[in-house]
């Protein structure tokens, strides 16, 4: 990079005040550009205050919080099942992943082991959520840089995933699909589900990935716009707590699915010695926007392989855990058809009853499409958590934004935002 930053006079961090703007906007050399919060290229509501030297970004100050909705405060007032409706609205590009992460943490708190059938279904949907999120990120990153066709291929394939989610949960966008110790409901028909997933993998996804890669991988304009842009080294990525494909593009060899396995990624997940699913973790060392794109595309292929391994071997049996019937809501047929089911239902949902949580706190994380998505739950013995802290991967990854954009052209800022896959609902919570 031939450009070196001019030594700037130290200035006040409060860039929002007009005093600051007055002082700096008329220097003739640097000017301040307000980017967002409503701008088509920011994807969602986030704001950057860019101090520009000509067209180079000399300093970038991200401002977030425009979508802050108090999700963590709400978690203290909803019970362990109800809160799933809130978490699924955090990273809405792959909502089902949040459900699985949240109830994974709750089951760790309660020390519940879920059934093999539930584990397989959650793993399949987790990987489907990963593909859903990566398709959005890759397609929209292309769109921001002018590759409109790749965007259409990506979004066309995402529609099929929404159809599958609609089939299993009854909602397209926010499935709220998991429950403590199980799922909202069993599959309506396992055969139909398997056929839908296989048809999508074979007829749709493989072609869409081929088309997108053919359009972008060796596209001279795309490469020029993305290679060497927004570079983050391996040391910086670890020091800034980055995770997920964002960090793996910088050479951080780390994936929670491999390093702290959960669900079907762990060996012996069915209690009978089954091996964990086989997959590879793509890593690149350049740490630029292009390598983030490549890592995400490779992860889509690996996720498809994981689904292919599991889809033919969905075990039978119950969907809810049988270890402790006091933890799981009975199916609706039992609630309406038997007195025991009705009692058990009200034991859990009445405000003075419900779960007997331990008085303790624990942390549990999974590998979400954007990195380590963790929940720190403080429980006080009541059916509602005392405090829920989410570890949002996008929030942590996005905190490197100022570092990545410095010295780049204004038009590259758009590409860098796309490569972080910023979803402001998770960023601000």
């Amino acid at each position: 990079m031939p450009f070196t930053l001019k030594p700037a006079e130290p200035f006040d961090v409060d860039v929002e005040s007009t005093e600051y703007l007055k002082k700096h906007i008329d220097t003739g050399e640097r000017w301040v550009l307000n980017f967002g919060p409503q701008h088509p290229a920011t994807h969602t509501t986030l704001r950057l205050v860019l101090e520009l030297d000509g067209e180079r970004v000399a300093r970038c100050t991200p401002h977030i919080g425009y979508l802050h909705s108090g999700f963590e405060k709400l978690g203290e007032h909803l019970d362990y099942n109800q809160y799933v409706t809130i978490v699924s609205r955090m990273d809405y590009s792959a909502p089902i992943v949040n459900d699985i992460a949240w109830h994974g943490a709750v089951e760790k708190l309660f020390d519940i082991e879920i059934t093999p059938r539930c584990k397989v279904l959650r793993t399949i949907m987790l990987e489907m959520g990963r593909i859903q999120s990566h398709l959005l990120c890759v397609a929209a990153a292309g769109l921001d840089l002018g590759a409109f066709t790749a965007f259409l291929y990506g979004f066309n394939s995402r529609e099929r995933i929404y159809d599958i989610i609609d089939y299993i949960s009854g909602q397209r966008f926010h499935p709220d699909w998991t429950r403590v110790g199980g799922l909202m409901q069993d599959l309506p028909d396992t055969g139909v589900f398997v056929r839908m997933v296989k048809a999508w993998l074979k007829d749709d996804l493989a072609g869409a990935i081929d088309d997108m890669e053919g359009l972008l991988n060796r596209n001279r304009i795309f490469m020029d716009r993305t290679m060497g842009i927004g570079v983050l080294t391996k040391q910086e990525a670890i020091a800034h707590s980055c995770t997920g494909p964002f960090a793996r593009a910088s050479g951080v060899v780390r994936d929670v699915r491999k390093d702290a396995p959960f669900l079907c990624f762990a060996d012996n997940w069915d209690g009978q010695g089954a091996k964990g699913v086989r997959f590879m973790v793509p890593v690149m060392n350049e740490g630029d926007v292009y390598s983030r794109y490549r890592v995400r595309v490779e992860e889509i292929k690996q996720s498809a392989k994981i689904i292919e391994q599991l889809i033919d071997a969905i075990p039978g049996g119950p969907i809810d855990t049988f270890a402790d019937a006091k933890m799981v809501k009975p199916p609706k047929s039992q609630v309406y058809g038997s007195i025991e089911g009705l009692i058990q239902h009200f034991e859990l949902i009445m405000s003075n009853r419900g779960w007997k949580a331990p008085i303790a706190e624990c942390y549990s994380s999974i590998e979400s499409p954007n990195g380590e998505l963790g929940y720190f739950i403080v429980a006080d013995g009541s059916p509602r958590p005392f405090r829920v802290k989410v570890r949002p991967p996008i929030f942590v990854n996005y905190s490197t934004m100022a570092k990545m954009t410095e010295g780049h052209l204004l038009s590259d800022v758009v590409g860098i935002i796309g490569s972080v896959n910023v979803i402001a609902a998770e960023l601000d919570r």
């Binding site: 961090v13 409060d14 929002e16 977030i64 919080g65 802050h68 108090g70 963590e72 405060k73 709400l74 203290e76 007032h77 760790k108 708190l109 020390d111 910086e236 670890i238 020091a239 800034h240 707590s241 980055c242 780390r254 390093d259 702290a260 331990p358 008085i359 303790a360 706190e361 624990c362 942390y363 994380s365 380590e372 963790g374 720190f376 403080v378 006080d380 013995g381 005392f386 405090r387 802290k389 570890r391 929030f395 942590v396 905190s399 490197t400 601000d428 919570r429």
Partner: protein
């Protein structure tokens, strides 16, 4: 190590106390011989409880000592324990979630703070101060800003000590337990619109 905190002791399997044989406990105790610590464990997750003044030194030791090697700060969590059913050392707690990539180890360092001033506003409380760990892990910058914004715990030597999710003039720290979920008067100031003048 000292006795475990009552808050977590009762929660493990009955008749069995927390399992405090994580090797890092002994290393920290050996290195900081004159300091007082306590420890607890739940579901295989070990937590070291330190005095607020020692937190930065202990975290620096955990990061830089090769036998500990916690190179990755996963999260900084702020908790307000007002009204918690079991007794805690202080009202506020800050938990650092550490990871070691080499050994695949998860470790928690927790420190308690007690406010000295009323907590219903945004007054600066000299008792609610911790040393920032941004010099150890630059990624702590936004995490600590969030703890400050949500709970009003300030961090010394922080490079950019602004609020992050709410705006600067917001009259409360909303994740404190004495802040109601429906807000405090913010809603009451909205103009009421009924059918006749809508």
């Amino acid at each position: 190590m000292g006795a475990e905190t009552p808050s977590n002791a009762a929660s493990n399997a009955p008749g069995k106390g927390p399992n405090l044989d994580h090797p890092v406990f002994a290393l920290v105790k050996g290195h900081f011989a004159s300091k007082r610590f306590s420890a607890t464990e739940f579901r295989g997750q070990s937590t070291l409880i330190v005095q607020p003044g020692d937190a930065h030194a202990v975290l620096g030791f955990l990061k830089n000592d090769p036998r500990c090697g916690f190179n990755f700060l996963a999260d900084v969590v702020g908790v307000d324990y007002l009204g918690y059913p079991s007794k805690t050392i202080g009202r506020f707690a800050v938990v650092y979630v550490l990871r070691c990539f080499e050994r695949e180890d998860l470790f928690f360092v927790k420190t308690f703070l007690d406010p000295s001033l009323p907590t219903d506003g945004i007054v600066e409380d000299p008792a609610l101060y911790l040393d920032s760990v941004t010099d150890l892990w630059p990624g702590a910058e936004w995490m600590e800003r969030e703890v400050y914004d949500m709970l009003g715990i300030r961090f010394r030597n922080h490079p950019d000590p602004r609020r992050i999710l709410t705006w600067e003039a917001y009259p409360a720290h909303p994740l404190r337990k004495d802040y109601p979920v429906r807000g405090r008067e913010e809603r009451e100031q909205f103009r009421l619109v009924d059918r006749t003048d809508a």
